[in-house]
Amino acid sequence: MNIEKTSKSLLKEFWPQMSKWTTRELIWLGFWGIIFLVGLYALYVQIVEGHVVTGMRDHVIWGVYIVNFIFFIGIGYTGAIVGGLLHLFDAEWRKPLMRIAALMTVISVIIGPLYILLCIGRLDRLYYLFIYPRLQSPIIWDVVAVMTFLVGGILFLYLLAIRDFAILSRSEETMPAWRRKIYLFMSAGFINTRMQRHDLKLALNVLSLLLIPTVIIVSSVLSWIFGMTLRPGWHSTIFGPYFVLAAVYTGTGVLVLLMYAFRKLHNLGAYIQERHFVYVGYMLIAMAAGYGYFTFSEYLTDWYTSEKWNAELIHKLMDLNQYGWMFYFANFAGILLPILLIGIPKFRSINTITFSAALLVIAMWFKRYLIIVPTLETPLLPMQDIRPEYVNYSATWVEWALTGAGIAMFMILFKVASKYIPIVPIWETSEMIEKEKQTKAATNGQPQPSLS
């Protein structure tokens, strides 16, 4: 069979990358390892001394931890929703990207919730969430949502990878026996019979279909942690969809960055091609436009009616001596610039798309910061506190170190995962290559638009 032959040659190409660590990779790993260890030390300090080592105080009770939580969870949700949608629409070009999307989902959804744990003062009582849960609390909704989603994400990653595990377990490449055994075990007896193909496809379809509403629900639940409070800037009816879109937008940005990184580092130019960047770039434009629209209507309504606290908050956000710079950066660099850079054909290239993605990912982190911190600094009653650290929030080294540790964890997990599971799915990519060959033959070599 052709697919088998193609996949064999693909594996041959990828195998050197998967079977050994280069010095450069080890240095990379070491670098992030150190950052991670610094974070662990910060965690130790925080656990021993309490949250007093953070910049959080009675008014600004949440800081960069919750920002990181929203950020990572959002990225995680994206892998699933983008992967799921593309799978359902059967966009052929998606196939080389599916592994990155699925890995991104699982890794981020593992990291994100760690940040919410950092916000909890009494980790020794964490199990109370399970023995005394109160269903009215949005935190319990979130616990349920994240756990459900994690299971869904892992299943998605796994089901998409079964065929590659099967290929790996039967490959002619040399690998330690234990590794082959694990691949064999993970392939769950997949030997490519018609029935297995059918079942797998069905399972993936159902799962994709389920993941999409799940992502919408869990993202909304996340936003309701804020939306359910009586706080200016949080108590908003559009927070659900706003967060869903923000999550997917950021996540797609991260997807582009990952595509770029692996394309460069693993020499995957043949599989992760310019057209992939362009298609994902189009998705980014659509999302940026939608997100911009939400942002505009959110701020416009608050500003126009100028209810006391909303007016105060908007003033804080726009004032260049307060949050102005961050506000303009988040909303212009994060929304407008990507639209222009990707939208105007003259500028459009792998580099500008990646640049826009980097810009928007950073901008969206700040955007979350703007949602959390200024609101908490604008309570309904005047603070009248003499302790400056209680009035204005600024993150301490502990919080930055732990933020760094989260990024390090992301990098390390991705790198390690790429050693055990091909970053470009072998089976699906072979399928795509074969299909494209066939259409090419059928149309006598006429190039075909491959967005199916």
């Binding site: 949250h51 009770i61 109370y128 949005p138 319990i140 409070t229 009586l230 309570p379 005047p382 009248q384």
Partner: protein
């Protein structure tokens, strides 16, 4: 003041206080008069929870000590309200001169250090032309408490007597209730809490709210352990100007320690209102507007240190 009138007041005052004290004990004992108890043959009059004056043998009265209240609260977990009660507070803004005696008393009672304030006195100015006024703020013990709604582990709860309390042995320190409370009432123990005069600290119960526990949330609790002993919350008795009126909505009586009045009448006569009614939290604390001031607002700055004065610079 007319002598007989003040006697009557005094009677009602003790009556109310004792009524609060004996609510658990006396109502139960009144229902079971045969119970064997050493009789003191000495009776007192007190207000029953239904607002009737009853005579009870002193032997049947439980006069709690602080410690006793603590252990008692322990056996009843502090989660059940005092039966038949519905506590309310009325704060008369016209009388406050920022003497800060309530804060000092509250901190002493709860063994919390000076910089931690469960009870705060803010300087408010509603608009440019409005006159500033002092605004003492307790927990409002809201009837529709947003803080309770969001607690994931039932560590903060609403009781049948209207109080919203915290079980610091249950609280996981997620601070969600702090985000939920729109009035910035709750404070968190960011580090190891400082406990002042630990030797006299009662055993922990949600009713004593002390000693503070690290990495958990605290707030004004309306001193239910004092109430169980028939005493008024400390802020009420400490205030030299009688700003705080505390009492029972079921009895329709509130007292500031020197004067006892009908709650409904007070609210009616003095145009009582609840702070930020529009939020729908239904506070159990009512305010009387700062009209007919007893003191000019400047009086409030007299005893303040420069640091404390600096707090209010935005308002002046």
């Amino acid at each position: 003041m007319d002598n007989s009138n003040s006697k009557r007041r005094n009677f009602i005052r003790t009556g109310l206080a004792l009524g609060l004290a004996s609510v658990a004990g006396a109502t139960k004992l009144l229902g079971e008069p045969d119970e064997k108890k050493p009789a003191h043959n000495h009776t007192v009059k007190l207000l029953s929870p239904d607002g009737e004056i009853v005579e009870v043998d002193t032997a049947d009265l439980k006069v709690e000590t602080h410690e006793h209240a603590g252990t008692m609260a322990r056996t009843i977990t502090g989660r059940e309200g005092i039966e038949g009660r519905k506590f309310v507070m009325v704060i008369d803004l016209g009388k406050c001169r920022n003497a800060r005696k309530c804060i000092v008393a509250c901190n002493k009672m709860h063994h919390i250090p000076e910089e931690k304030e469960w009870l705060q006195v803010k300087l408010m100015k509603d608009n440019e032309n409005a006159a500033p006024y002092w605004f003492p703020k307790t927990c409002f013990h809201c009837d529709n408490p947003p803080c309770v709604k969001v607690c994931p582990v039932d560590a903060t709860f609403k009781r049948s007597d209207g109080l919203v309390l915290i079980d610091n042995e249950r609280c996981i320190g997620c601070k969600f209730c702090m985000a939920g409370c729109p009035y910035s009432t709750r404070v968190f123990n960011w580090g190891e809490p400082e406990i002042t005069e630990p030797a006299t600290c009662p055993p922990y119960s949600p009713e004593s709210s002390t000693p503070s526990k690290h990495s958990t949330v605290e707030k004004c609790d309306f001193c239910p352990d004092m109430v169980r002993q028939g005493k008024l919350p400390d802020c009420v008795t400490a205030c030299p100007n009688g700003v705080f009126y505390f009492g029972d909505e079921n009895e329709d009586t509130v007292t500031n320690g020197s004067e006892t009045v009908r709650f409904s009448q007070l609210i009616k006569d003095k145009a009582g209102y609840r702070f930020m009614e529009e939020l729908g939290t239904k506070p159990r604390v009512y305010y009387l507007p700062p009209s007919n001031r007893m003191f000019p607002v400047e009086r409030g700055f007299k005893n303040l240190t420069d640091d404390q004065k600096a707090r209010f610079k935005d308002v002046q």
